[in-house]
Symmetry: none
Subunit: 226 residues, 2 copies
Amino acid sequence: MKPILIVEDEYPISQVLRAYLQKAKFDTEQVYTGEDALARFDEIKPSLVLLDIMLPGKNGWQILKEIRKKSNCPVIMLTALGEVNDRLTGLNEGADDYISKPFAGDEVVARVKAVLRRTEAKQPSVQRFGQLEIDLDAHRVKLNEQNIELRPRDLSLLLFLAEHPNKTFTREQLIEHVWGFDYEGSDRAVDLSIKRLRKALKDWPASEGEIRTLRGLGYQLSVYEE
Amino acid sequence: MKPILIVEDEYPISQVLRAYLQKAKFDTEQVYTGEDALARFDEIKPSLVLLDIMLPGKNGWQILKEIRKKSNCPVIMLTALGEVNDRLTGLNEGADDYISKPFAGDEVVARVKAVLRRTEAKQPSVQRFGQLEIDLDAHRVKLNEQNIELRPRDLSLLLFLAEHPNKTFTREQLIEHVWGFDYEGSDRAVDLSIKRLRKALKDWPASEGEIRTLRGLGYQLSVYEE
DNA sequence: TTATCCTTGACATTTGTCTGACATCTTTCC
DNA sequence: GGAAAGATGTCAGACAAATGTCAAGGATAA
């Protein structure tokens, strides 16, 4: 996921913003001047920009204009309370929203999410291991650009293993995480699921990864290189 | 240009809104209850809705949901000052923006313009999945250049699925979004609707997409591009 | 009214899962 | 090296659960 660029010269405020956004699982990048903002913008191609108006050197409006020249990346302006003129200018100049200081953390996150939802509409959540592609949202697994049909349980198992590549889990652990803590049946159900997964993934180049058995321990999804 | 629908029960406020918007060359329509709002909405197909939360009868959230069922027309909520919860709810429920009372006239106009600019700028409302063409705004579905006749409920369901291709929804979620949060009946109504949709889409090449069942989870509109 | 739409309840069908048995493999110990 | 014990791989069948389907009967709107 591309990061959110925070352009704010006051260090404490910048840190607060970062904290809230990271808590909400967003990546962040911080810069403290307008010039840095533009340079960094090109480098990291952020998913969204939080832009303070009062900045040393070039101010927020100028930055906004520069950004708008080359991108329609969503921008939320940070403005002092009650500066209605600022608000109006911002919305007319192409800002997507504004947030008044002082702000509540929840509100910042909600605004960011709202703007991202508007502008992105969708963002696929896919994980790749070479030829193997796992799409969490769509509940779909592709191997070699081709869809693979998996049973729900098998898919859950694969997803769980894929979340922790190269880590070994006992049958018990797998049962607990994939089947559920209230499962009563035997451990051997895991074997069957593993078997079907291996069969389904037989065309996955062994050089890229495989499902390994660790005798006496359990199973793991091994992935190599990258 | 399509008018802006003002839904506000307090007459003076409604008048102020109308005055500002007309000054900015927008056409306006005023209604004073939620019920009228929905009826009028269908008739005039406004370009934007200004929606008060506190309304006699159905409140603003209910109206918003009803509107969202059949249209992605931009909606700006009017909220009392400081009701942060309302703000958050609104942004999450599909409102495009909110304005706190008391508001400055200029600000209202700026917000309206901003939202219109945002929503008009984005992609056309018709989505193509190979032979299948879905017009979210016009509420029309074409397969192979030919209009498909669907029951209203089925159409809503298809439109909703098409808004989020490759995303899986439980029956519960579909009921909530398509049938409405106050629906009392059984989940299985979804099955029937899905069945009719599949029948209606039977000439849609399976290589382009399909309505997929995810056993134990729900349904999704799968599209396979390229 | 007539026609359309929606839901209910029943039943059919498909699919997923587990059990138990047996085969195969690995390790250990003699 | 070889046999026994234990772990894992594999299979088929039975069962359960989710889904597909149908037809009848209200409800609603034209």
